[in-house]
Amino acid sequence: MVVTVPTEATAVLTDTDVARALKRMAHEILERNKGADRLVLMGIRTRGIPLAERLARQIGSIEGNEVAAGSLDVTLYRDDYARTGPRPLGQTSFPAEVDGKVVVLVDDVLYTGRTIRAAMDAVMDYGRPQAIQLAVLVDRGHRELPIRADYVGKNLPTSAEQEVRVHLAESDGIDEVVVATAPASAASSTTPRVTAASPTTPATARRRA
């Protein structure tokens, strides 16, 4: 659970914006690949999975045929196992063989690029795709590897202290993208901490007790 941090949270994409972006990306994917015949959409766990499913539905409704979406868990391919230790594993399921296909990786936020590096290695272990492409809802910059997205919902210049949160109806009940500027001392995308939270939150109450 994300602890409520007192921040200036700004919604940068509303549900309509998300829907429009995905629709445009679906068209771009079709245009670039001249149809959906060889496409395999792979959502990266966790929020990439519903996005891949939505893109597949969108592409299916444009083309009039089914496009399969799968899920990819990259935990075993991450480069931080030796630093941070084991994380819970998720299921990987390919809807089709990848040999000779165009695999489109789908994720919510593109940041350092390390997750995508891991995802490419994972896909290669399942076969030899003709190409791998990348679709992301938000590109927030700050790459640490030479990786770029082929399809971007929104380019969102951020500072490293900011936090980009993607909420999707499937998991969060609402579609929106929020940028939060946490106070410098509490800034962390993975471990939100409570520093000067409002006195009504239980976490703060406990801490003061």
Partner: protein, 322 residues
């Protein structure tokens, strides 16, 4: 999460569930065209076997290799050093070489525990004396859960040579931790003293237990550990405690038969019963790899999962020189 894997007794139900859940995901790797993931690159695992083994050693080796760890196999068979000294010297050698995990099998109960006092590496018990064989117990729990959907509330019967069996101690503890009911069945000569304190039922009548059994767990008659006669003959053992087609037929619908291997066909189980459709024996072997991968994955992560550098500072180098 788990500092060392020494005994089933050390594991809570939550920890066991985490190991089984992780194993469930890792099992999929065996179905891929490339049966390998890069997770444990740079880690070194040593199989240190002071006793014979086929499936456990190979299973651990495959598990480590499928996670991309480097594997060293050390078999102490034929070594003339006395056991206590031999184990310590070997351990210190491995420590000096910078091994991250030691998978140890030893005839002396408690040898893996002793190892943890000498080395920084993670220690995984692959069977010590009559004491414990935790990964066998875990793979059995995994197989039961995979086949029957749950462990909680099942009725299990553990049959045969419980006295000499480290497998029985691990399996029974694991089943109890996960909420199964366990009945120990065997001739009085092959049940351990104080078996009444194990928290199980005890029976000397296999045929009475069979109709109330969801998991029938047969133990190997360990002739190599028997210095004296525990029962008159193998034939008599087979007649009273062995499982054949007729006895299988008395199990309830959906019940499964398990055996840790290697089997004495014709003693504790007949050939046709071992190969029956509800026999899990081959599946147990397959699942062993995924469960051992899970243990290695959960134990060797983070800074904590790497043994100190070779020739390192402080207590480590002192210990090597000692």
């Amino acid at each position: 999460m788990i500092p060392h894997l020494l005994s089933m007794q050390d594991l809570s139900a939550d920890q066991i569930t985490a190991i089984l859940d992780t194993a469930e995901t890792l099992k999929e790797i065996a179905l891929r065209p490339i049966k390998k993931v890069p997770t444990l690159r740079g880690r070194t695992v040593c199989n240190l076997f002071f006793e014979d083994s086929t499936r456990t050693r190979i299973s651990f080796e495959l598990a480590a290799k499928r996670l991309s760890a480097d594997v060293i196999n050390f078999s102490a068979k034929g070594s003339s050093v006395s056991k206590g000294e031999g184990l310590k010297d070997t351990a210190l050698t491995l420590q000096a070489m910078g091994v991250d995990a030691i998978v140890v099998r030893h005839a002396a109960s408690g040898a893996p525990q002793q190892l943890t006092r000498w080395v920084d590496a993670k220690v995984l018990n692959a069977g010590d004396g009559w004491h414990q064989h935790p990964t066998q117990g875990l793979l059995d729990l995994f197989t039961i859960r995979e086949r029957l959907g749950h462990i909680d509330g099942l009725r299990a019967a553990v049959v045969g040579d419980v006295f000499h069996s480290r497998v029985a101690r691990s399996v029974v503890q694991g089943l109890l931790t996960m909420g199964a009911e366990v009945t120990i069945v065997g001739p009085p000569t092959l049940l351990p003293p104080r078996v009444d304190t194990w928290g199980t039922a005890v029976s000397h009548d296999l045929d009475a237990v069979l109709p109330k059994t969801d998991v029938l767990y047969l133990l190997r008659v360990q002739q190599e550990r028997m210095g004296e006669q525990f029962f008159p003959s193998s034939r008599e053992y087979a007649r009273i405690w062995g499982v054949d087609r007729d006895r299988l037929a008395r199990l309830p619908e959906g019940a499964v038969v398990m055996h840790p291997g290697p089997m004495n066909r014709g003693v504790e189980v007949t050939a046709d019963a071992a190969d029956a459709p509800n026999s899990m024996i081959q599946l147990q072997v397959t699942n062993g790899i995924a469960v051992r991968m899970s243990c290695l994955y959960l134990m060797l992560g983070g800074e904590d999962g790497r043994a100190a550098d070779v020739g390192g500072r402080g207590s480590n180098s002192e210990r090597v020189e000692a």
